[in-house]
């Protein structure tokens, strides 16, 4: 499996969100990320390092440097 995680840089810790490097503040949670990424959390799901983070755990799940996060929703398809 390809390691798509970014190296930490001198500018601070970074994670990958939907395939793009993204800065992460110390102590930031999944809930913080979702609200900055897409505002409303309706119709959204989050995977962190290929595991679903249940909505009920967004506020308590802290992001770690080099996490790989996918934030998904519905698109026309099928």
């Amino acid at each position: 499996m390809r390691d798509s995680r970014p190296p930490d840089t001198e500018q601070g810790a970074r994670i990958v969100v939907n395939g793009e490097p993204h800065p992460v503040a110390p102590g930031a949670t999944v809930a913080d990320l979702v609200s900055s990424w897409c505002g409303s959390p309706t119709g959204i799901a989050v995977a962190r390092n290929r595991e679903v983070v249940p909505r009920s755990e967004w506020a308590t799940t802290r992001l770690s440097p080099r996490d790989v996060v996918e934030i998904v929703t519905a698109a026309a398809g099928g």
């Binding site: 939907n18 395939g19 990424w37 897409c38 505002g39 409303s40 309706t42 119709g43 959204i44 799901a45 989050v46 995977a47 290929r50 679903v52 249940p54 909505r55 996918e70 934030i71 998904v72 929703t73 519905a74 698109a75 026309a76 398809g77 099928g78």
Partner: protein, 259 residues
């Protein structure tokens, strides 16, 4: 197959239409709304994709506004692991246990990978999902999926988006005959008569995306499919005449004048 055109039952839930709409290829939310209206569909598929902050909300909002239930799919998944994670994300995002399970073998044919499909179906059924697998037109595999606990089976008529119609009607009829869960013809439909044939062969429903969404007038085509599904269903119940190799006069021979 129950004797009620107005709906069929999947996993204890009555779907009010035997036509399931695939939203892939739809050109705009307005067109989707018009298609939903004229199709009468009560269930429509969506794909799970990365959030694009610029465009989000569209499809789900339109489905909700029309009272149409969401059937998430796992399109684009090549392995059981990807499909299972996608289904779990969909459950979290859309608050539904239902999933149209797709696990494809390669990008050129988009044909199902039977081994990965069965593996994913087992895992998802164990996790309590209502699994509707997109499968090959293989009566044996369809039975295996049913035995695994799938709530329906969705055999293909032809490759996704090909519009080639039902290439092996004999197999589709066999699947419909041998499965006790609903059989929904999925993929390959080109035009309304293909949907009629699927219903005549004994399918409980038909799923259509491309043939509607990429037609010249999608809302009009959706109406055609609605009528086609109903016609096929009624014809199936009414019972077609047997095929004969020679003619059989429909006018009486008795009383023929000597001219």
């Amino acid at each position: 197959m129950n004797d009620d055109m107005t709906g069929f039952v999947v996993a204890g839930t009555t779907l009010s239409s035997r036509l399931i709409l695939g939203t892939g290829g739809i050109s705009s939310p307005d067109v989707l709304g018009a298609v939903l209206e004229s199709s009468g569909a009560s269930l429509a598929t969506v794909a799970v994709r990365r959030v694009d902050p610029a465009t989000r909300g569209g499809v789900l909002d339109v489905l909700h506004a029309h009272g149409v239930a969401v059937l998430p799919n796992t399109a684009g998944c090549f392995t059981a692991a990807e499909a299972v994670l996608t289904a779990k994300l969909a459950r979290e995002a859309f608050e539904t246990d239902w999933v149209k399970l797709e696990v494809i073998g390669d990008e050129e044919t988009l044909l199902p990978d039977a081994v990965e499909l069965l593996d994913a179906a087992e895992q998802l059924c164990d996790e309590g999902f209502v699994v509707l697998p997109y499968t090959n037109d293989d009566p044996v595999l369809a039975r295996r999926l049913e035995q695994t606990g799938c709530a329906a089976v969705m055999p293909l008529g032809a490759p996704i988006g090909s519009g080639l119609g039902i290439r092996n009607p004999h197999n589709i009829a066999l699947i419909a005959q041998r499965c006790s869960v609903p059989v929904v013809l999925d993929a390959g439909i080109g035009t309304a008569s293909d949907a009629t044939l699927a219903m005549e062969l004994g399918c409980a429903g038909v799923m259509v995306a491309t043939a509607i969404t990429r037609s010249r007038q999608p809302a009009r085509m959706a109406g055609a499919f609605r009528a086609a599904v109903e016609a096929g269903y009624e014809a199936r119940l009414a019972g077609r005449i047997p095929r004969r190799f020679s003619a059989r006069a429909s006018s009486p021979v008795e009383g023929l004048p000597d001219l």
